[in-house]
């Protein structure tokens, strides 16, 4: 029986490897990632 539903969340470890581009808006929880927004 399925008792745990895991929400889709951004892989933070992977985002560390990608490095921050700094192009996102200066606000952080409510912010969007510019790369993700553009679909890069």
């Amino acid at each position: 029986m399925k008792r745990i539903t895991t929400l889709n969340t951004r892989d933070l470890a992977r985002s560390a490897a990608e490095g921050g581009c700094g192009e996102c808006q200066t606000s952080v929880a409510n912010q969007a990632c510019e790369k993700k927004r553009k679909g890069d």
Binding site: M1, T5, T6, L7, N8, T26, A29, A32, C33
Partner: protein
């Protein structure tokens, strides 16, 4: 580090270090809590059977299966995960840091006299002043010169009331636009206004040039007029609401927030939000007042249970209206779990004093708009740049991990260590903690995550929620 809570019928487990979020049934909720408390596998099964063994869906085999699922999530780094980022927090924060945003104080003057204004009726403890075009132009050049390879640059026209200096705002905007192509920059301009001067020309300007506009309205007439008064002492509700309604009608899909402040006088602030909805506004932000504790409108310890209740009520209302097809946006409940900020951003926070600076009408630089006028935090000016190295170092040191309280807090990768200005005013240091604000933030975050769990539950299979083994982006 786990954070578990129950809200609105949802049982939430947040794995703080990885950012993974799980919506679970009550059996899994208790089993995870027991494991987190250090209980061994056999004890967990025994205790779970004592609590739930009477249910047809709970037996030893079921619990073994649940424990296997939990182990799988642990192996994937989604439960009981280690902290991978704390050791290198300062590297994340200061790697490739450059200035990318300015809060341009177009006017240290205001045409309203709001009691709670942190800027002291717009003058920031100084004289009335309007920013000359030459200062604004130099500020734009300063931003370009100090922005490195950043392409997206932000300028917020702020005050006081920036529309008191509208001609200069327009000239600064025209200058910024004129150099965009040559400098390979994209200026995202925003405007924060009380609305008194929001006439046809200002609306046309904002719709043409501004990426976002923030309109100050506290909600119900009696709430708004109690603290947002004209210079003559009257209320300003009737003066600004029709202008806001007109503006929002012309705004289309572009960003525009109605931004209110709630105080001790309206701890039932959801009623102010509902009033904003009645007025036709759907992009809303409502912030707790931050002020010295002796002020009569200051929020108190006794207010907190009511405020928590209000945040929960708001979340439930948003969920209900969304299901009815008439949803609205509350800024603090906007959470993009899949496309939200990267770890560098989460650790760095708002960037005040490093990526983000405020510019006064005289061209002086401060870490952000809330430090303007404090001589300790005068950072330099737009001609000489940042010359106060000690102040800059203080802000470079601020991160989601710089305070002991934050290192052990489940919300640190969402609040990034909180607002330095609030910490400074509450605790006397930018590296302090504004604990009251933390408690409100955590409640808002719990509500926002609950809403995401509800959305995932309602979404078609594969949208918003993964299975036990496929919950992250590819």
């Amino acid at each position: 580090m786990l954070h578990q809570y129950k809200l609105n019928g949802y049982n939430i487990v947040l794995d703080a270090n990885s950012g993974s979020i799980h919506s679970v049934d009550e059996v899994a909720y208790d089993v995870i809590a027991m494991l987190d408390a250090g209980m061994d596998r056999d004890s967990v099964i025994r205790r779970a059977l004592e609590s739930y063994g009477h249910r047809p869906d709970v037996d030893r085999a079921e619990l073994e299966e649940l424990l296997a699922d939990i182990e799988a999530l642990k192996a994937e780094g989604k439960l009981f995960s280690p902290d991978l980022f704390g050791e290198n927090a300062s590297d994340y924060k200061n790697r490739d840091a450059c200035v990318k945003a300015l809060c341009l104080h177009a006017a240290h003057a205001c045409n309203l006299n709001c009691s709670y204004c942190f800027a002291g009726q717009g003058r920031y403890s100084g004289e009335r002043a309007l920013m000359p075009f030459e200062v604004g132009k130099r500020a734009i050049d300063f931003l370009v010169e100090n922005s490195g390879t950043r392409r997206n640059l932000e300028v917020d026209f702020f005050g006081g009331e920036p529309l008191l200096n509208f001609e200069t705002v327009k000239r600064i905007t025209a200058y910024a636009r004129s150099i965009e192509k040559e400098k390979n920059k994209n200026f995202r301009l925003t405007l924060t206004t009380n609305g008194v001067l929001l006439d046809d020309e200002a609306i046309e300007f904002a719709n043409r040039e501004c990426h976002n506009v923030v309109l100050s309205l506290d909600g119900r007439r009696e709430t708004h007029d109690r603290l947002r008064k004209t210079l003559g002492g009257g209320g300003s509700y009737d003066l600004v609401v029709p202008k806001f309604q007109r503006f929002v009608r012309t705004r289309g899909e572009r960003g525009c927030y109605i931004r209110g402040t709630f105080t001790h006088y309206n701890t039932d602030f959801t009623n102010d939000i509902f009033h904003m909805l009645e007025l036709g506004f759907t992009e809303l932000s409502m912030e707790p007042v931050v002020c010295p504790p002796g002020e009569p409108y200051a929020l108190t310890e006794e207010d907190l249970p009511k405020l928590f209740e209000q945040y929960e009520l708001l979340a439930a209302d948003m969920l209900r209206r969304s299901r009815e097809g008439r949803g609205y946006t509350f800024y603090h409940y906007m959470l993009d779990l899949e496309n939200g900020p990267c770890i560098r951003k989460r650790i760095s926070g708002c960037g005040s004093g490093t990526e983000y600076l405020a510019v006064t009408p005289e061209g002086k630089l401060y870490p952000c708009h809330q430090f303007v006028g404090d001589p300790k935090y005068l950072m330099g000016d737009v001609w000489s740049g940042v010359t106060n190295a000690a102040a800059m170092e203080e802000f470079r040191a601020c991160s989601a991990y710089s305070r002991p309280e934050c290192r052990s807090c489940w919300a640190r990768l969402y609040c990034s260590g909180g607002c330095a200005a609030n910490a400074y005013h509450a605790a006397g240091s930018v590296s302090g903690v504004y604990e009251y604000g933390c408690r409100l933030f955590k409640k808002r975050l719990e509500c926002a995550i609950m809403l995401k769990a509800a959305q995932a539950e309602a979404a078609p299979e594969g949208c918003g929620a993964g299975s036990e083994a496929s919950g992250r982006d590819a």
